[in-house]
Symmetry: C2
Subunit: 227 residues, 2 copies
C-alpha cells in the first residue's frame, strides 16, 4: 500500500518507519520539498521511503496519516489538497496541543475536536481518529509497554475503521485491545485525555506508558452481550 | 472523624455509606433541611448518619467531601460557608458535566478546572481532587473492578493529600495504585478525562470499569528513581 505520512516530526518519523517495516511504500510530506527533516528522515527509511510536499505525498497515497502538529493540521491538509484526500482513509494521530509542560492546553476541545474539524473541512475523506493517546514509540510497538493496554479508534465510516483496525493489528495490537468508541465526536474524549497524559508523563518521568480499561466481571459480560 | 458529605445524589449516597461503614460519623448536606433525598439516604445509613443543610453539615465536619453536581458546586459551597470550610480538607469528587450522553460537555475545562475554581474561591480550604474518574460504586469499593487500576489525587497541600491517601487506603485502594499528580491544576486532566469516560460507559454498556496506567520496565525504573 502507498502511505502518505504528513508531518516530519518525531510522530511522523515513527509512523513512517513502522509502515516501511511492514513493507508499505511511504512518502513523507512536509511543508515544502526542501523540508530538511523529511529528507533526513526519508534517508533513514531506505528505498521504500520518499519525500514530497504535502500535496505530493497525499496524491501518491492510498492511505494518509496526519502526524502534523494539531494546531496547524487544518492548514497542512488544505495544502495537501481536498482532491488528493478525497475518498481516502485519513488516520488522524494529531492532538491540538498549544504548548508543553504545565501550561499545556488544547486549541479546540469540549464541544468540538480536531478530528471533527478535519472531517467537516474534508467531507469526502474518511477520517479515523486513532493512536493519539500514547507516545509515538508505543503506537507501532505496543509490546514496548508490557501486558494488555488499549488503543482507541473512532470515525463515521465503519469500513474505514475496520481497515484501520486491521492496520493496528499488523502493528501488533491484539484485537481485544482495540476499542471502537463510535463516531468521530468520540475524538473529543481521546484528545481531551491528553491533558491527563501530559501530566502523567511529567509525574512518571517517562512517556513509556499507556492506559488499560479494566472491567468488572459483570461489565465484561454486559459488553460482550452488546457487541 | 466527623465527615460532611455535600450533595445527596447517588455519589453522595455512595460516599456517605462508605464513610459510615468505616466507622465515621457522617452528616449529609443538602440544599435545605427538608431535602428528601438526604433524609431518605440518612435513614438508610443508620445512627451514625444525620442530615443538615450545607452549612449545618460543613460546620459539623472535620472533613468535607464535595459530591454536588459540578455545575452547582461553587454555589453549594458558598451556602456551606467559607468559615465552615476554613482549614478543613475538602475532597472534591465532582465533575462539571453539563449534560449526559452524546452531548456531554464540561462547564469549565482546558485552562481551568472546577477544583481550581473551588481552591481560589476558598483559599483557606485544603482542596484535594480525588475519585472523580470513576463510577461512585467503584470509589469506595475498588475490588469491584478486579486487579490493579488507579485513583488520582492532586492538590496544593501535601499534608492534606497524605491524609486523603490514607483515607483511600482505608477504602481498599492499594498504596501503589494511588497516583499523586501534583498540584491542583492537574484536576484539569482528571476532569477532562470524563469526556472519554462517559463515552466508554456508553460503548461498554456499564460504568463498572476503571483505568490502569501500564508502564514499561524502563518506565517503572525511571519512576521509582524519581520518587
Amino acid at each position: 500500500m502507498n502511505v502518505a505520512v504528513l508531518g516530519t516530526g518525531p510522530v511522523g518519523q515513527a509512523i513512517a518507519n513502522r509502515f516501511v517495516a511492514s513493507g508499505h511504500a511511504v512518502r513523507m510530506g512536509g511543508r515544502s520539498l526542501e523540508n530538511e527533516r523529511a529528507q533526513g528522515g526519508a534517508a533513514a527509511h531506505g528505498p521504500q521511503a520518499s519525500t514530497a510536499d504535502f500535496a505530493g505525498a497525499a496524491s501518491f497515497a492510498d492511505l494518509v496519516v496526519n502526524c502534523t502538529s494539531g494546531t496547524v493540521s487544518l492548514d497542512a491538509l488544505r495544502q495537501a489538497g481536498e482532491d488528493n484526500l478525497a475518498n481516502k482513509i485519513l488516520i488522524d494521530v494529531a492532538n491540538p496541543l498549544t504548548s508543553g509542560g504545565e501550561a499545556t492546553a488544547l486549541s479546540v476541545c469540549n464541544t468540538d475536536s480536531l478530528a471533527e474539524q478535519i472531517q467537516r473541512a474534508f467531507p469526502q475523506t474518511r477520517v479515523v481518529k486513532a493512536l493519539n493517546t500514547m507516545n509515538n514509540a508505543v503506537m507501532g510497538d505496543p509490546d514496548r509497554v508490557p501486558g494488555d493496554h488499549n488503543v482507541f479508534v473512532c470515525g463515521n465510516d465503519d469500513a474505514a475503521k475496520s481497515d484501520v483496525v486491521e492496520l493496528l493489528r499488523s502493528f501488533g495490537w491484539p484485537a481485544e485491545n482495540i476499542i471502537d468508541l463510535g463516531d468521530i465526536t468520540a475524538a473529543r474524549g481521546t484528545e481531551m485525555y491528553l491533558i491527563l497524559w501530559v501530566r502523567l508523563c511529567s509525574i512518571l518521568g517517562t512517556a513509556d506508558f499507556n492506559i488499560k480499561i479494566v472491567q468488572g466481571d459483570r461489565a465484561l459480560k454486559n459488553a460482550g452481550s452488546r457487541r
